[in-house]
Each structure stands twice: as structure tokens, then as C-alpha cells.
């Protein structure tokens, strides 16, 4: 059965879109990522205009993140204190990121930068995660690694405003999560995503938070980011297709619930390896797209169609 999307002005197969929504929701609940870095390319593959795909994707992530946040909240997996510091940073970073996008847009290079970011970041983040996970499996960690780690820890420990984050069982300077939030906010604005797949590895390897608290805190932060993006996109660009979002969020809410249940059963190392592989596969796909000759050598310009 097909339904017509009133803002995207296109017709889609209902069952296919529900399945995609469920699949992305599953990943959201399983790994604590909002699914934004998956949803936009997938919707574009089905003929949804990129701007509508990104904006409607954010709208559907509101539901998926709400469901996942509530479930993680009940399981005691959300570090509220850390989440609020990260959120403050990501709101600031989001504003800064919008200005970066404006400058890049004026220079005419925004397309290339976005795609390159989609290649470089997944490779860096996914590669580090996979490397760390595989390294832990070998019995000898090596002396050099522990020296480097202690230097990094000393630097973080020397920052002012040190405080206890009881839920995560870590002690850090308040500046650290705010700075990380700003970095994530900037990248999220450039890439048009909630920032979960950047946030999760940072919380894991820099903030040294336990994996289950990371996932809960990540979806909590994503929830507020996608609420902000949905409103701004609706108000300024009129690109949120509510019907598309409703179809996707129906599937993704169920998927997120199931994913969260599974995340309780899988062990942490398995989760990390799976997330690393997922992030790497997105990078490989975009790299392949960038390097292969496109079937169409023309693309509609803004205001063209």
C-alpha cells in the first residue's frame, strides 16, 4: 500500500517505510545512537529529497529517543548530571555549527565537506572503537598504552571545576563534558544528525563512562537535540514531513523498545564491536558513493525545481 507525503510530494510504500523505521529504531535502542546518520541516506535512496529526509528523520528520532530514554531511565541508565552538561555544550556547539555551515555554504563547498565528514569521522571513530575492542581481547595491553593513557588522564585531572558524576562513577572537570558537547554540536550541525555516534565513543574512551550509562545518557542528549532541530526545520525551512515521520516513528518506537531490551542481554564488548562495524559500514558506503561515477551527472540546484 502506498501513501502520499504532503511535504516531500512523493509516494512511498507503507510496509517498506515501517520496516526501515523498525530497523533504525532497533539500532537506536541497541547502541544509543539516534539513527540520524543512517536515516537520511536511507530515505534519500527511496527518493525523498535530502532536506526533507534530514528534517523528517529528526522528527521521527524524537519518538525513538523518547521511548529509548524512558526505558533507559527506568533501568537507571541515564546520568542526568553528565547529560545536562553535555546538552549545554551541544546547544552552544549547534549554534556555532550553523554559522560554520553558513560560511561553507557561501564558499560553495558545503556538499563536499558534509560528505567528507561522513567518510572521515565514521572511519576514525569506528576504527578506534574496533581497535580498542580487539586490543582488549589480547592478554598483554603493553606498557606504552598505559603511559599514554595516564598522560591524558593527568591533563583531564588538571582542569578546574572537578566534580563527581555519581551515576557514571567518574570524576571529571565540568568543562570537559561542555567542551565535548560543543564539539559534538558543531559536527551534528554540519552532518545534520543527533550526534549519538560521535558522543558514544567520546563518553566511552575519554570520559571513561560505563557502556550502559553511556547509552542512556546519549539518547537523553539526542532527544533534546532532535527536538530543537525539528522545530527549527519546521519553522524556517518547512521541510518536516509529518506523515513520513509518523510512519517512521511508528516502526522506530517499536524497534527502539526491542533494541533496548536486547542491549541488556548482549555483553558490552559485543555492543562495541557491532557499533564500530555499523559506523565503519556507513563510512565505506559514502566513500564508495563519492568515488564511483554517478549515473546522473546533473543534480537539481536549490530553487531549480
Amino acid at each position: 500500500m502506498n501513501i502520499y507525503l504532503p511535504v516531500a510530494h512523493t509516494s512511498i510504500n507503507l510496509m517498506i517505510m515501517l520496516s526501515i523505521g523498525t530497523g533504525i529504531g532497533l539500532l537506536s535502542g541497541l547502541f544509543g545512537v539516534g539513527g540520524g546518520f543512517l536515516i537520511t541516506p536511507v530515505l534519500m535512496m527511496f527518493g525523498i529529497p535530502p532536506t526533507v529526509a534530514a528534517a523528517s528523520g529528526a522528527n521521527q528520532m524524537v519518538a525513538a529517543s523518547t521511548s529509548a530514554t524512558l526505558t533507559h531511565w527506568k533501568l537507571g541508565n541515564v546520568d542526568m548530571k553528565m547529560g545536562l552538561y553535555l546538552l549545554a555544550g551541544s546547544f552552544l556547539g549547534g549554534g556555532l555549527g550553523v554559522q560554520v555551515v553558513k560560511v561553507l555554504n557561501a564558499m560553495g563547498n558545503i556538499d563536499f565537506v558534509i560528505k567528507l565528514t561522513y567518510v572521515l569521522l565514521p572511519f576514525t571513530v569506528g576504527g578506534i572503537m574496533l581497535g580498542e575492542s580487539l586490543k582488549k581481547k589480547s592478554p598483554d595491553k603493553g606498557h606504552e598504552g598505559s603511559v599514554r593513557q595516564s598522560a591524558c588522564s593527568r591533563l583531564m585531572g588538571s582542569l578546574p571545576f572537578q566534580m563527581e558524576f555519581a551515576k557514571s562513577g567518574v570524576r571529571h572537570s565540568a568543562i570537559l563534558p561542555v567542551l565535548i558537547g560543543i564539539l559534538v554540536g558543531v559536527l551534528a550541525a554540519i552532518m545534520g544528525v543527533g550526534g549519538g555516534f560521535i558522543m558514544v565513543p567520546i563518553m566511552l574512551y575519554i570520559l571513561k563512562m560505563p557502556m550502559r550509562v553511556i547509552i542512556g545518557t546519549s539518547v537523553f542528549q539526542i532527544l533534546f537535540t532532535v527536538i530543537e532541530v525539528t522545530f527549527l526545520q519546521s519553522y524556517t525551512n518547512h521541510t518536516v514531513d509529518f506523515v513520513l515521520a509518523l510512519v517512521m516513528l511508528t516502526g522506530s518506537s517499536v524497534g527502539a523498545y526491542i533494541g533496548t531490551m536486547f542491549s541488556e542481554k548482549l555483553n558490552t564488548e559485543q555492543l562495541k564491536v557491532l557499533l564500530a562495524l555499523l559506523i565503519l559500514s556507513v563510512g565505506v558506503k559514502i566513500l564508495f558513493e563519492l568515488m564511483s561515477r554517478p549515473s546522473l551527472l546533473l543534480a537539481y540546484s536549490f530553487g531549480g525545481k
Binding site: H9, V62, F242, T250, V254, L297
Partner: protein
């Protein structure tokens, strides 16, 4: 007096002949408006009419002329493909569909095809391309983009046998054509023009309009999104929050209903065997098994 009478007679004969010719080519559309409803996936437009015997028929469906802009993809550093230069295509139809009862190249010369913009070659001669030196290559890519989007159809002008001709008792022919208007065709008014072709020239034309527009809930949502973006955004967020909030209890209820449905046959069997256990006992047994 004699000359005046002769002139009047000539005019009368000409008028009659013109009327006869006009009467030969008629056009009828099965709908004047294609509504975009919630389950819209395109619609069929039936085009019928009559044409004088011995004449071929060409049907052209077009949107109004407009200017469009495109980005040309080129390889960057011999590695990555990216949008580079902007090109403009002026005075072009966003939608262009062509059908005929015979091969258009065979029944019309180039001059006549250009005059009525029939076929891609004719279209190329009328559009204005700026921003590139290789206009032929760009036009080919333009056609590829349009065809991929299902907005253009007229492959190599060889579209014969799409329009069906059938003889009528009065010596004329009837013609009909069913055009699938894909959902990709945007909202707007489209001209359906019919050309009668004889002896390698267009002898008569007739046209009508068809409107594609959203109705009902599709129109309501579209209007709110475009005209009240803030309200629309808040509504979208609230509904998404409620859906996300409701999903856990809804799934919980669904799980309980599923469990009850699985247990029901067992209860019936047990009741029939005269060993009706209380429900709590069955649940305890299931939990113990798990």
C-alpha cells in the same frame, strides 16, 4: 454583382471546409482534475477523440515553460565526484510527455517538429542553456535526469503505436491513449495538446488542460506546514513525544494479549478434560518453564 456572388460563395465554401476540418479533430479527457489523496500513487489519464481518416495523431503533455538550475558533478582531485558548476536551462518544460500513432521522425520533417516542439531535438533548439560550453552533452544529461524522475518521456521520437487509431462509420478515425501520470509529476496545471498530421505537416491542433492538486488531509497538512511552520513544528514534536511515551505501555499490553491468546487453547483443552486450573497456576507453570 457576379463577382460579389462568386466571392461570397468562395468564402462560404472555405468556411464550410474549415468547419469540417475543425470538426474532424476533437479531444476529450476523462478527468479535468487529478486529486492527490492520502493514498495517491499516480493516476491514469484517458485521452480520446476523433481525427480525419488518413491523418496521424501526436499527443503532447507539458507543464508551462520555466527556468531550471542544476549542478554539474565532476571529479575532484581525480578521486571524488562532487557538485561543481551551476548551469541554467531556460524556457523549458518541467514535465514533457510525447505520444503518437506513428514514428514522429517519419511523419514530420525537422522544421515542422521544431515549430511545434515535438521531440527532444526540437526541444533542444528552443531551450536556452547557459553556464557550460558543451551544450549538447548538458542537454543529454538534462534529459537523463528528467527521464529518471519520470517527468519526460519521448525516447528518440520513436513512440509510435502508443496512440491507437480505430475507424468510425462516418469515415473519421477515433483515437485513444491512456497516460500513466506518475506520482513524481508535481502539483500544477498541464496542457494536453493533440496534433493531426497529414502529408508531413501538422494540419490541425486542439488542446485542453488537466490539473493535479492535493485534496483533503494532504492539502490540510501541506497548507499548515507551509503557512504555519511554528505550529506545525510544535505539533510534530508533541505527537512524536506522545508516541514515544506510549510505545512502552502499548507493547506491554500487546505482550499480555499475546500471552492470553497463547494460553486460551490450553484452558479450553483443560476444561474439556475436566482439569480446569486457575489462570494463576498456569502462569506460574509457564514462568517456571521459562
Amino acid at each position: 454583382m457576379g463577382n460579389l456572388l462568386k466571392t461570397l460563395l468562395t468564402v462560404l465554401v472555405l468556411l464550410l471546409s474549415v468547419n469540417h476540418a475543425n470538426a474532424a479533430l476533437t479531444l476529450s479527457l476523462d478527468k479535468k482534475m487529478i486529486p492527490i489523496t492520502a493514498f495517491y500513487k499516480g493516476n491514469a489519464l484517458k485521452i480520446t477523440g476523433t481525427v480525419a481518416s488518413g491523418e496521424d495523431v501526436i499527443v503532447k503533455i507539458t507543464s508551462p515553460l520555466e527556468n531550471e538550475s542544476f549542478m554539474v558533478k565532476e571529479k575532484f582531485f581525480h578521486l571524488f565526484w562532487m557538485n561543481k558548476d551551476k548551469v541554467d536551462v531556460a524556457k523549458v518544460n518541467s514535465v514533457y510527455m510525447l505520444y503518437s500513432s506513428a514514428d514522429i521522425d517519419g511523419i514530420l520533417p525537422v522544421a515542422e517538429r521544431n515549430k511545434y516542439s515535438l521531440g527532444y531535438e526540437a526541444l533542444q533548439s528552443s531551450v536556452g542553456i547557459s553556464g557550460t560550453s558543451d551544450k549538447d552533452a548538458l542537454f543529454r544529461e538534462f534529459i537523463k535526469v528528467k527521464e529518471a524522475g519520470k517527468l519526460y518521456s519521448a525516447p528518440d521520437n520513436k513512440v509510435g503505436n502508443k496512440v491507437i487509431l480505430m475507424p468510425l462509420k462516418d469515415g473519421n478515425n477515433s483515437f485513444w491513449l491512456t497516460v500513466k501520470m506518475p506520482y513524481q509529476v508535481p502539483i500544477g496545471r498541464y496542457e494536453v495538446a493533440v496534433y493531426a498530421v497529414k502529408n508531413r505537416s501538422v494540419v490541425q491542433t486542439v488542446s485542453d488542460d488537466v490539473l493535479i492538486e492535493p485534496v483533503g488531509v494532504v492539502r490540510e497538512i501541506s497548507d499548515i506546514a507551509m503557512n504555519h511552520g511554528g505550529v506545525y513544528g510544535l505539533l510534530a514534536i508533541i505527537i512524536a513525544l506522545i508516541t514515544g511515551y506510549m510505545v512502552t505501555p502499548v507493547i506491554g499490553i500487546a505482550k499480555r494479549m499475546l500471552l492470553a491468546a497463547i494460553m486460551a487453547p490450553r484452558r479450553v483443552i483443560n476444561a474439556m478434560n475436566g482439569q480446569l486450573y486457575p489462570i494463576s497456576a498456569l502462569e506460574e507453570t509457564d514462568q517456571a518453564k521459562e
